[in-house]
C-alpha cells in the first residue's frame, strides 16, 4: 500500500506542514515510525490489518503501531480514493498507559477523512527522509 500523509495548507495553497514528515519525534521514535511505514508499503491489506494497522471504533479509521520509548499510534484511513492501494495518515497520536493522547484522535481522524474526501489536495505521498533533509 502507498502511504500518504495529511498536510496543512496556507491560504494560497502551499504546504506549511506535513503530518508524518514534520512530526517532532526523538530519533528512536522516528526510526520506529519509518520501519512501520516500510512494512505498510510492502504489505497488502489482509497482511497489514492486525499486524501493522488496527481497527478503530470510528468507522473507516484505523491506528498504526510504532514502538520506541513512546508508543506512537497515528490514526489513518484507507484510501480515500483508492482504498485497496492507499492509506492516508490523518492524526498524530501516542499512547501512554492505555490512554490515547490526544483523546479525540479517532474523532479528529474521522472528521479529516471526510475533509479529504472533498479535497484530495490535503494529502501528499509519504517518502522517507532523514531529519536533516526535511525541506520542502
Amino acid at each position: 500500500m502507498i502511504p500518504y500523509e495529511y498536510v496543512w495548507l496556507s491560504p494560497d495553497g502551499r504546504v506549511t506542514e506535513r503530518l508524518l514528515k514534520d512530526w517532532p519525534l526523538q530519533d528512536r521514535e522516528r526510526r520506529a515510525l519509518t520501519v512501520m511505514l516500510f512494512r505498510l508499503f510492502r504489505t497488502d491489506w489482509r497482511q497489514a490489518v492486525g499486524s501493522v494497522i488496527f481497527k478503530e471504533k470510528e468507522a473507516a479509521i484505523y491506528y498504526a503501531k510504532a514502538t520506541g520509548d513512546v508508543q506512537l499510534r497515528p490514526r489513518l484511513c484507507r484510501g480515500p480514493s483508492k482504498p485497496n492501494d492507499e492509506v492516508t495518515f490523518l492524526v498524530r497520536a501516542i499512547e501512554k498507559g492505555n490512554t490515547t493522547i490526544p483523546a479525540d484522535a479517532a474523532k479528529v481522524a474521522a472528521w479529516r477523512f471526510q475533509e479529504l474526501r472533498a479535497n484530495d489536495a490535503l494529502r501528499r505521498r509519504y517518502r522517507p527522509m532523514p531529519p536533516q533533509a526535511t525541506t520542502e
Binding site: 528512536r28 520501519v35 512501520m36 508499503f41 497482511q47 492486525g50 501493522v52 510504532a66 522517507p128
Partner: protein, 166 residues
C-alpha cells in the same frame, strides 16, 4: 519503495541507528511472516495456536509488528506447526536488508515439507555456496512455486531465500 535502501544506507552509518533498525526490521519481519504463513495455509489463529501448543491469546500479539519478546523455543514450535525449518544466523547488515526488507506475500510464503518442490520427484536442492545466486538454490523445472521463488530472487537481486526452505 526504491527509496528504502538508499534511505537506510545513510541511516546505518550511525551504530545506534542500525542496531535499532535491525531489531525493528527483524521483529516486524517475523511477525509478518507468521501471519502470512498462517494465511497461506488458511488457518485461524486458534488452529495455529493448537498446532504450536500455544494459547490463542499468544498468537495475536506475535503477529503484530511491535512484538519484542521472541523466544527461540517458541519459534521452533511455530516452525514445527508450519512444517518448516527455523533458521537463526548472524548476518552482515547489507545482506540482512536483502532478507528482511521484502515482506510482500510472495516473499514470505513458504511451502510445508509435503509441498516443498525440493523434496518432490525430480526436485533437487543445490548447495548454497554462492550467496548471490538465490535463484539457483532450488531447482525444480516447471514447478510454479519454484518459478515464483526465482522471480523473487531475480527482482530483489538478493539471496534472501537462502537457507529458509529447509
Amino acid at each position: 519503495m526504491q527509496d528504502e535502501r538508499s534511505f537506510l544506507k545513510a541511516e546505518f552509518a550511525d551504530q545506534k541507528a542500525r542496531e535499532q533498525y535491525a531489531a525493528d526490521l527483524l521483529d516486524s519481519y517475523i511477525a509478518l511472516q507468521i501471519k502470512t504463513l498462517r494465511q497461506q495455509r488458511k488457518w485461524s489463529q486458534k488452529k495455529l495456536a493448537s498446532l504450536a501448543r500455544k494459547h490463542q491469546s499468544q498468537i495475536s500479539p506475535m503477529e503484530q509488528i511491535d512484538f519484542r519478546s521472541w523466544k527461540i523455543s517458541t519459534l521452533r514450535q511455530l516452525a514445527k506447526a508450519f512444517d518448516l525449518a527455523l533458521v537463526v544466523k548472524f548476518e552482515s547488515f547489507g545482506r540482512f536488508l536483502d532478507e528482511v526488507l521484502p515482506v510482500e506475500r510472495a516473499a514470505l510464503e513458504r511451502p510445508s515439507f509435503a509441498d516443498d518442490p525440493a523434496f518432490q520427484a525430480g526436485g533437487t536442492v543445490t548447495p548454497a555456496s554462492d550467496a548471490t545466486s538465490a535463484s539457483r538454490l532450488l531447482t525444480f523445472p516447471g514447478n510454479r512455486s519454484n518459478i515464483r521463488l526465482r522471480q523473487m530472487a531475480a527482482s530483489s537481486g538478493s539471496a534472501y531465500l537462502r537457507g529458509t526452505d529447509g
